[in-house]
Every structure is written in C-alpha cells, then in structure tokens.
C-alpha cells in the first residue's frame, strides 16, 4: 500500500472515531476530545488533498479557537473532575435508524457515482483563494464581515447579564 493511502486511512480513522466519540461519550469532556481528534483528522485530510490553506485555517480556527471555546464551556459549567453524565439522551433507536438510512444512502451514492480520478498537483492554494476572495467572490467576502459582526453582537447580547448588571 502506498504511503499516501496509509496516511489517508490513519487520518480518516482519527476523524471517524473522533466524530463517533462525540455523541457516544457520556462525559462531555471526552466528547470535546473526540471532536479534537475529528478536527485534526480532517485537517490531515485537507493536507493530503493539497488544500494547505484550508488545513492551516482548520488548525487556527477550529482547533485553536472553537475547541478551546468548547473546553472553556465545559470548565465554566462544571468542575472538571466530577463531570456528571451530561449526555443521557442517546436516542439509540431513532439514531440507529437515521444512521442506517443516511449511511446506506451515502455509501450507495459513493459507489454508484462515476468518480473522476485526477492526479493532484500540489501547489500553494493561498494565492488562488486570495484572488478568489478579492476578485470574483468579493461581494460574499464583504458580507462575511457582517456575519462576523453579528456574531460579536451575539456574544455580548447573550452574555450581557454576566458582564454588566444594568
């Protein structure tokens, strides 16, 4: 088996096992760790697909930001050692049915689909993305700043009482 394939399956395994661990783990802290594994796995897959900018962004934003935020939330809401079983509602039956349905559908489509095999040429993608963002996609790019602004307002509005009692 070529090295690439081995590495691919390693990352894919990390992503899938981690993702499965998020809902299945009873301890919310381990769920967060599962998420870490899933995110790292996906970042690795991005690297294998020559999407270097995406991989770095994944590390920067998801692992460096979102995950820290989630672990923060865990630490804010409970004492880190004695975390209670916070994930009681597993919903096994409905979850299994949904999983079986979507899993079958996705596998079926993946096998049925005529995939086009293209040899990847590794090159730096940051330039292309920059040209896209500030060229053809300029308008969505600018609107994105409004999304970020709304997010910030949300952080303040939702956390208001804790910041300033008025």
């Amino acid at each position: 088996m070529p090295t690439n394939l081995v590495v691919f399956y390693l990352f894919a395994l990390a992503a899938v096992v981690g993702a499965a661990g998020v809902p299945m783990s009873k301890n919310i802290f381990w769920s967060a760790m599962g998420l870490l594994s899933a995110l790292v796995g996906v970042a690795g897959l991005y690297v294998l697909l020559s999407a270097d900018f995406l991989a770095v962004t994944q590390l920067l934003v998801y692992i460096g930001g979102v995950l820290v935020l989630i672990i923060f939330a865990v630490m804010l809401t409970s004492q880190i050692k004695e975390i209670e079983v916070s994930n009681q509602n597993v919903g096994l039956v409905s979850g299994a049915i949904l999983f079986a349905l979507t899993g079958t559908l996705l596998c079926f489509v993946a096998i049925w689909a005529p995939w086009k095999v293209v040899l990847l040429q590794s090159h730096e993608t940051t330039t292309d993305i920059g040209n896209g963002l500030l060229g053809a996609w300029l308008l969505p790019f600018e609107v994105t700043s409004v999304v970020l602004l709304a997010t910030l307002i949300g952080a303040i509005v939702v956390a208001r009482k804790e910041i300033k009692e008025d």
């Binding site: 559908l105 079926f108 489509v109 049925w112 689909a113 005529p114 060229g135 053809a136 996609w137 300029l138 308008l139 969505p140 609107v143 994105t144 409004v146 999304v147 602004l149 709304a150 997010t151 307002i153 949300g154 303040i156 509005v157 939702v158 208001r160 009482k161």
Partner: protein
C-alpha cells in the same frame, strides 16, 4: 478586476441597510437612551425603500452583476420592498414592546437590519456562495433576536433549538453546494449549474447535492419534516421578532427558493422520475399544510398556534413552487402576491399579539383574549380582519394570494389533487382562526384589560389592515407590480 459605479448603485438598498445597521449599533453605544438608534434605523429603512423604488423605475438590468453573484431584477426589488417594510414594521413594534417588557437594547435594531440585509442578499442571489452567506447573515441575526429576551426561559430554549437545527440546515446547504460544485465541474452560479445540469444529472452525487440544497432551504421555511424548531422558536422569541421570522425571513427564504429552483434546477429532467424535485416538493407541500393545520387545531397558546399556521402557509407557498417547477405561466407572480399579502397579514397579527400583553401578564392563551372586543373594539376588529386574511376569506389579501397561487397550480392537471387538498386545509384552518375571534367577541373577560398606548403599534396595525383590505378589494395594482417581477431568464 474593476468595479463600475453602476454595480455599487445597484446595491444601494443593501448597502444602506447594512451601513445604517452599523451606524445604529455605534450610535446606540454613544448616545443616551435607545431613541436615536431607533430613529436612525427607521430612517435607514425609509431611505432604502426609496432606493428600491428608484431601482425599480430605472431597472433595465437583468444580468447578474458582481461576477454573477447577484441580480437586480424586478422580482428581487419587489421582495426587497416587502423585506424592508417588514423590518420597518418590526422596528416600530419592537420599541414599545421592549419598553413594556423592560429588556430594551439597541443591538436589537441593528440585528433587525442585518437580518434584513441577509434576506435581501438571499432574494438577489444568483450564486450558491452569495445564497449561503445571505442565509447565514439572516439566520445568525435571527437566532440572536430570539435569544435576546433574556428573562424569558422559553426564549433561550427556542433560540437553542433554532440555532442547532439552523446550523444543521447550513451543513446541508454547504454539503449540497460542494457536491454541485464538484459534479458540474466547478460551477456555483445558477446559470452555470443550469447549463451543466443535464449532463451532471447522470451523476448521483449531483442529484444528492441538489436535494441537500433543497433540504437546507426547506429547514429555513419550516416545511414538514424540517419544522420542529419553529413552534418553540416562535413561542420563545419576543413577539415582534416572531413577526419578523414569520414574515420577512420566510419571504426571503421562499424568494431564494424561487430563484434557485426557477433557474439553477429548472431542468425538469432531474432525477427521481420524470418530474424530479417537483414531485418530491408536491408531497412535502401536502404534508406541510396538513400537519401544520392539524397541529394548530390543538394549540391553546396563540403564538404556538400562529407558528403552526405559519408552517401551514409554507405548505401553500410550496404549491406555488411546485407550479413553478411545472413551468406554469403566472406561478411566480402569484407567489409574489401571496408573499406580499401573507407578510402584511402576519406582521399585523403579531403586532396585535405583542400589544395585548403586559409585562406581568402576557395573555398568550386563547382564553386570555376573552372579551377583548369590549375594551379594545378597534384592535379586535383589526385582528378579526387579519385572521380572516390568514384563513383566506374574501375580501382580504390572504384570499387573493391563495386564489392566484391555486389558480396557477390548476393549470397543471398533475396538481389538481394538491389544490383540492389545500382548499380543504384552508377550510380546516378557519376553525382555529375563528376560535380567537369567538374568544374576543363572545366570551366574558377573565381578567380586566389594561391596554398600554403605543403610536408605533397603532400605525403598523392600521397600515397592515389597510393593505390587507386593499389587496382584497383592489388587488390589481399589486398583481401588476408582481407580474413585472418575473424572474428574468438569462
């Protein structure tokens, strides 16, 4: 790449709404009190309306601009107008509502404008990327508006459900976009997708992508079975925000669907039998209106009942979408008339719901409305007119909206069953709308009424009732406006 001045002028309503939103936010942090930010936001809405009117007069461009991201055609401008008026009405109602319930905050006004800007991006979008960003801007602001009523525990619950399911829907949209992009050889503009759809349709990944996009959008208009968030979010949100969600946000999402299904996936040969998504959407429309109406029958809480009623209306609206997919002439203007009438009615109804409650007594149950006609005859009369419009009784705008949509659908023999089902559904819906009317007029009040005076609410209520009646009595002007708003095929 260069930017022509015309490109910026074409965006002027959107830029005004966004810019005024930013300014209102800043002004709120600097000025004393909430009034300056509110006035600025309202002025911004009026200015944007004028800009829309200006575009409408001079509109000749039917080509996508900004590298195929957006189009400024009559349909988009028509819906822009509806969205901005919905935002203006929400602002007028929200200010006294928040004062009464003591959770005033100036961010509210900015968020209403950002949600509107997102909605405007959605109805203009001719590219999956701008659609996605527009949907996200709109939804994010809406989640926050729902969550902003901090004292209300139901608000947090509703906002959380809305956020989680909304994020799930966004996942569907992104996944669908990726699949369509991959299988059409890198196309995300509607025109590009339409050009390559016939070839790409052999690929199951493309079909799946198209259905994922449809699923994501159906979440946003709260179609069965993707409606679970709606009753809780509608109930928990501050009532003016509920009005905005039921009117502006639903109008924007339907407008986005009209454009997406009318251009990118207009090819009828797409998958699942000869009718493709048209057949699937027909089934969903049936399920949505039936489920919404049956569930509304059992509600005691007025806001929840109206939430289910709004789900049912999503079902009627989807009949128009199905007719559009069947290439029925006139399906699209009919949808636009319906959307305008529905938005006006909903805004009025939620204004009344916001107006009846006091800080310590929200009066959300139907029996709390007993005897309202004695102390507030004008409001009760307005509510009756608006409820009749929701039920689709002439001579109201709701009747004509339904009439046009159903008439368009009847032109396709495949859709006769759907129209029959919709008419039966409308009959069922009369029952629960009339429950409120009966309570208002024929029951003795359980508690004394203590109305609070509000000019803003009175204005919105008066205008919506006038619009609804005008649409019912002389629908022609709006019908002609809407007929000028045909999706331009390029």
């Amino acid at each position: 790449m260069t930017i022509a001045a015309a490109q910026i002028v074409a965006l002027s309503p959107l830029l005004m709404i966004t810019g005024v939103g930013c300014l209102a936010l800043l002004l709120d942090t600097m000025a004393k009190g909430r009034a300056p930010a509110l006035w600025l936001a309202q002025l911004g809405c009026v200015a944007a309306l004028l800009a829309v009117a200006n575009q409408w007069m001079g509109s000749g461009s039917s080509q996508p601009i900004w590298s195929g991201m957006l189009i400024v055609d009559r349909m988009a401008l028509f819906l822009d107008g509806v969205l901005i008026i919905a935002a203006l009405a929400t602002l007028l109602v929200a200010a006294p509502f928040m004062r009464e319930h003591e959770f005033e905050h100036g961010e509210h006004y900015a968020l209403v404008l950002f949600a509107t800007a997102g909605g405007m991006t959605v109805v203009h979008a001719t590219h999956l990327l701008s659609l996605l960003i527009g949907i996200e801007t709109m939804s994010l602001a809406a989640y926050l508006l729902v969550a902003s009523w901090r004292r209300q525990p139901a608000g947090a619950e509703g906002a959380l459900k809305y956020l989680l399911l909304g994020a799930f829907a966004a996942g569907f949209l992104v996944y669908g976009t990726a699949l369509v992009y991959g299988t059409t050889g890198g196309e995300m503009s509607y025109a590009g997708i339409a050009a390559r759809a016939a070839r790409a349709a052999d690929n199951p990944l493309f079909i799946m992508g198209a259905y994922f996009l449809l699923t994501g959008m159906l979440f946003k208009i709260a179609a069965v079975p993707f409606h679970m968030w709606a009753p809780d979010a509608y109930e928990g949100a501050p009532t003016p925000v509920t009005g905005l969600m039921a009117s502006g946000i639903k109008v924007a999402a339907v407008g986005g669907l009209v454009r997406l299904l009318g251009s990118a996936f207009a090819n009828p040969g797409l998958a699942l039998g000869h009718a493709g998504w048209v057949r699937v959407l027909g089934g969903i429309a049936f399920a949505t209106m039936t489920w919404g109406n049956l569930a509304a029958l059992r509600q005691e809480n007025v806001k929840r009942m109206l939430a289910y009623s709004s789900i049912a209306h999503a079902g009627y609206l989807m009949i128009g979408l199905v007719a559009l997919g069947q290439k029925v002439d006139g399906a699209q203007p009919a949808l636009l008339v319906y959307l305008a009438a529905y938005a006006a009615t909903t805004l009025g109804v939620f204004t009344v719901v916001a107006w009846v409650g006091r800080r310590d007594d929200e009066r959300l149950l139907i029996r709390d409305w007993a005897g309202m006609a004695r102390t507030r005859p004008a409001v009760a009369l307005a509510m009756t007119v608006l409820l009749l419009s929701l039920a689709g009784v002439p001579p109201t705008g709701g009747f004509f909206g339904k009439f046009y949509v159903f008439r368009a659908a009847m032109q396709s023999p495949d859709l006769a069953w759907l129209v029959v089902a919709a008419v039966l559904n409308s009959l069922v819906s009369v029952y629960y709308y009339l429950r409120i009317v009966v309570a208002m007029y024929f029951r003795d009040p359980v508690r004394p009424w203590q109305p609070f005076p509000s000019v803003g609410m009175a204005i919105v209520l008066f205008v919506t009732v006038v619009v609804v009646l005008a649409l019912g009595v002389v629908p022609r002007p709006v019908v002609e406006l809407a007929a000028g708003g045909l999706v331009t095929h390029w």
